[in-house]
């Protein structure tokens, strides 16, 4: 449409440019009819701002009659004699009829646009003059009824309501003709010319199997005047879904209908008026044949009557569709969502990071423990000799005792007391061997890390059977001196024993090859008010000052075959238990390793060990 009009501007007559344009629109009905308001809004929106728009109203059907018409014509004649409009707009059929009759006397040679005129009405008139143009509408009664029946597939009754005015009767006549096509689908009942109260009562009694169609009415059976919209509003309050053909009904409570759009009609008329004002010859206009109706529906009613949304065509116009929160506050929602997402993402990322860090920490700790365990196994390899000695000693005694018993029994001499002594010794040695194995197993088994209170004195003493043989094997005097009082710690006993083991093995290495007097290592547990201290002292060569800072680093070793893990693992295990470890040494005067932990809990008040 816009394109057509734009083309027509090529034909603009320059003579008219610059003058103030004036358009007069004459409405069939009174000024507050919703259809008129919408039409005028569309018209106003389309006309140039500089174009002056005058509006007049026939006030049909409230006012009628030859004298009224004559007086009105006279009025218009007087009113617009000095300011004749450049274009006339006839809004509505009565308006078109009036202007066609009176244009020659009132507004000679002024081109006219008609709007909101039904095609059926046009076809009842003689052909329009060439300078009267417009796009006819079609009030789509059957389309609306069809819509109603499709949206209420269970409906069995169609109730049609019209009124008593001439227009109402015209609509009734139109309806009676068009309704025939629905006869097979539903039972049709007409409520014609009833008082409004009666109509409403009848409608309120309808069951769920009924739908109502009404074009509204101007006058009810007792002569009360209405606008069709008011009538529709009253009816829509009834207990059945009401459909109507005019978009002015939207919002009254009707469900919807197939409707021409009055605002669109106004815009259409406005565009034609613009072209005509610009000097386009009316016959040069290429106009659509008809204003197509579109499906309109009231979203609230669709929900009220539980209509299947799938049955509603996609191009239907939704009214009063409450904007969802997102639609109403789109930007804010997007912003908030973005912020929320960002924040959520950040939180998620932080959580993931935290989890990863925790897992990594766990993995590191796990690896440390694995390493500590591996180191214990490695140490066990070093201790094999001492351990084998420690176990074979009782085993040797057991075997010899058993052999002796055998010999005694074979000899036949009754030496019961000796046999008894032998058995007692066997028993004792067996337990001794088993104790060594158990101790070893406790040290070497891959156990879950424990957190138990224990006494460092006891833990150190337990290690003596493992440490002493090794010291003996290496020809080193190992002195073990527990603290005089309890030395309570909380943690993993075996890991602390491993610390001791690593420190003692290091000390044994340190004194290796020295004269016998210096081949001594002293282990002691010390205790002060708030600390438990494990001290391992040797009389070896000592540690070079430049090595001291790196002493506890992984893979730092001064030994030819050392991995450099022993002290690093010792430090890890000490620190895992909340303690710290340090080394002091004077070159040539031996070294002292001290691991200290805070005293655990109230156990510190225990009496002497």
């Amino acid at each position: 449409m816009g394109f057509v009009v734009a083309c027509c501007f090529l034909l603009v007559s320059p003579a008219l440019a610059g003058e103030t344009q004036h358009v007069l629109v004459l409405y069939s009905n009174h000024r507050l009819l919703p259809a008129n308001l919408e039409f005028e809004a569309g018209l106003r929106e389309t006309l140039a701002d500089s174009t002056e728009l005058s509006a007049e109203f026939l006030n049909y059907p409230r006012f009628d009659g030859a004298s009224y018409i004559r007086a009105l014509a006279l009025f218009l004649n007087e009113k617009y004699a000095r300011r004749p409009p450049g274009v006339l707009v006839a809004a509505g059929e009565e308006s078109l009829d009036f202007l066609l009759r009176h244009r020659a006397e009132l507004f000679p040679r002024i081109p006219m646009v008609h709007g909101a005129v039904a095609r059926s009405f046009l076809s009842s008139l003689p052909p329009l003059p060439a300078d009267v143009v417009g796009v006819p509408i079609e009030y789509d009664f059957p389309g609306t009824i069809d819509l109603a029946l499709r949206w209420h597939p269970r409906a069995r009754r169609l109730v049609v309501v019209t009124g008593s005015s001439a227009q109402d009767h015209a609509w009734e006549a139109k309806l009676r003709g068009e309704i025939l096509q629905f006869q097979g689908r539903v039972t049709v009942e007409f409520l014609v010319g009833l008082p409004t109260d009666a109509i409403l009562k009848r409608l309120s009694e309808l069951g769920s199997d009924a739908v109502v169609f009404t074009p509204g009415y101007f006058e009810d059976g007792v002569g009360r005047q209405f606008s069709p919209r008011e009538a529709a509003r009253l009816m829509a309050a009834a207990a059945a879904p009401v459909y109507g053909p005019f978009d002015t009904f939207m919002g009254t409570g009707i469900v919807g209908g197939s409707m021409p759009n009055f605002a669109a009609m106004g815009r259409q008329a406005g565009e034609i008026a613009n072209a005509l004002l610009a000097g386009v010859t009316p016959t040069a206009l290429r106009l659509p044949e008809i204003m197509l109706p579109t499906a309109n529906f009231d979203w609230r009613q669709v929900r009220r009557w539980d209509i299947d949304a799938n049955a509603i065509p996609g191009d239907a116009i939704a009214w009063f569709k409450e904007p969802t929160f997102l639609e109403a506050h789109r930007n804010e929602a997007i912003m908030a969502a973005a912020v929320f997402l960002l924040q959520a993402g950040l939180i998620a990322w932080l959580l993931v990071e935290r989890r990863r860090r925790r897992l990594a920490n766990l993995a590191v700790q796990q690896q440390r423990f694995e390493l500590a365990h591996a180191a214990r196994l490695a140490v066990a390899g070093e201790l094999t000799g001492a351990i084998a000695h420690e176990i074979n000693q009782p085993l040797g005694a057991i075997l010899s005792n058993a052999d002796t018993a055998d010999l005694l029994l074979t000899s036949g001499v009754d030496r019961r007391d000796e046999l008894r002594a032998i058995l007692a010794d066997i028993r004792r040695d067996d337990l001794r061997a088993s104790a060594v194995i158990q101790r070893l197993r406790a040290l070497l088994a891959k156990h879950a890390v424990e957190r138990q209170p224990f006494d460092l004195n006891g833990a150190v003493r337990e290690m003596e059977p493992v440490l002493q043989p090794e010291a003996r094997r290496r020809g080193v005097a190992l002195e073990v001196r527990p603290a005089a009082t309890a030395a309570p710690l909380v943690g993993d006993r075996v890991q602390i024993q491993q610390v001791l083991l690593n420190l003692v093995l290091n000390a044994l290495d340190a004194v290796n090859g020295l004269p016998e007097a210096r081949r001594t290592v002293a282990v002691s547990v010390e205790r002060d008010a708030d600390r438990v201290i494990l001290v391992v002292r040797d009389c070896g060569h000592g540690i070079a000052p430049e090595h001291l800072p790196k002493l506890f680093d992984s893979f730092f070793s001064t030994k030819r075959r050392g991995m450099g893990l022993g002290l690093s693992i010792a430090r890890t295990l000490v620190e895992v238990h909340g303690g710290r470890i340090r080394a002091e040494s004077r070159l040539g005067e031996g070294a002292v390793f001290q691991a200290e932990w805070p005293v655990a809990g109230d156990a510190g008040s225990l009496g002497p060990a």
Binding site: H389, Q393, P394, G396, I398, L399, S400, D406, L407
Partner: protein, 206 residues
């Protein structure tokens, strides 16, 4: 001296094992004595009687290997059987090189133990016989006069009587007399036998 039964000296710091070993040896008819350390053993020098040592390798203070080395310096060392809790190769090689009869590992089978000890005692007995024989030889040799000794040296060197008489500036008859005397003293019947004696004298232990 040879009438005394052999004595087995058990040196082991582990009291329980020592007791068990002594019991076993006693039940098997051996005479045995226990020592808690090498020091103990050295402080109570055993009477000079046949026997052997059953020695632990690792002990506080001087080890079994140290004791073995010390004993080797003595004139009549007792054979040593080692009995160790853990047979590391270095220690066993060292022990065997130093003349140990065997290197056993605890726990030891009775038969293996007895067999090793028996070998040690046999070796001790053989050593004692050899030592007695050498003693006798040395004594006999010591009984020779300087002249007889000179004649002996030359006989062993392969000279005949005439050559010996010329060298020593004595009569050949005197040589024959002294030869008869020294052969009687040494208990030899021929020059060849004298040669073998000379050989053995050279290899006698101090």
């Amino acid at each position: 001296m040879t009438t005394l039964p052999p004595m087995i000296h058990v040196v082991d710091d582990d009291e329980s094992l020592r007791t068990a070993l002594l019991r076993l040896l006693g039940a098997a008819g051996f005479e045995a004595r226990g020592y808690a350390s090498t020091g103990d053993f050295l402080l109570q020098p055993p009477p000079d009687r046949p026997g052997c040592l059953l020695l632990d390798v690792r002990m506080p203070g001087p080890s079994g290997l140290d004791l073995q080395a010390t004993l080797r310096c003595q004139s009549n060392p007792l054979p040593v059987v080692f009995l160790t809790g853990y047979a590391d190769v270095t220690a066993s090689v060292r022990a065997m090189k130093a003349g140990a009869v065997d290197f056993l590992t605890k726990p030891v089978e009775r038969e293996a133990l007895f067999e090793a000890l028996q070998r040690a005692l046999d070796r001790d007995a053989a050593q004692r016989v050899a030592r007695a024989e050498a003693e006798r030889l040395r004594a006999a040799f010591a009984a020779l006069t300087p002249r007889e000794r000179a004649v002996f040296d030359r006989i062993v060197a392969g000279q005949i009587n005439k050559q010996i008489a010329d060298t020593l500036g004595i009569a050949e008859r005197t040589v024959k007399l002294q030869r008869a005397q020294l052969m009687a003293k040494l208990g030899a019947n021929s020059a060849a036998e004298l040669g073998r004696l000379a050989e053995r004298l050279q290899h006698l232990p101090d």
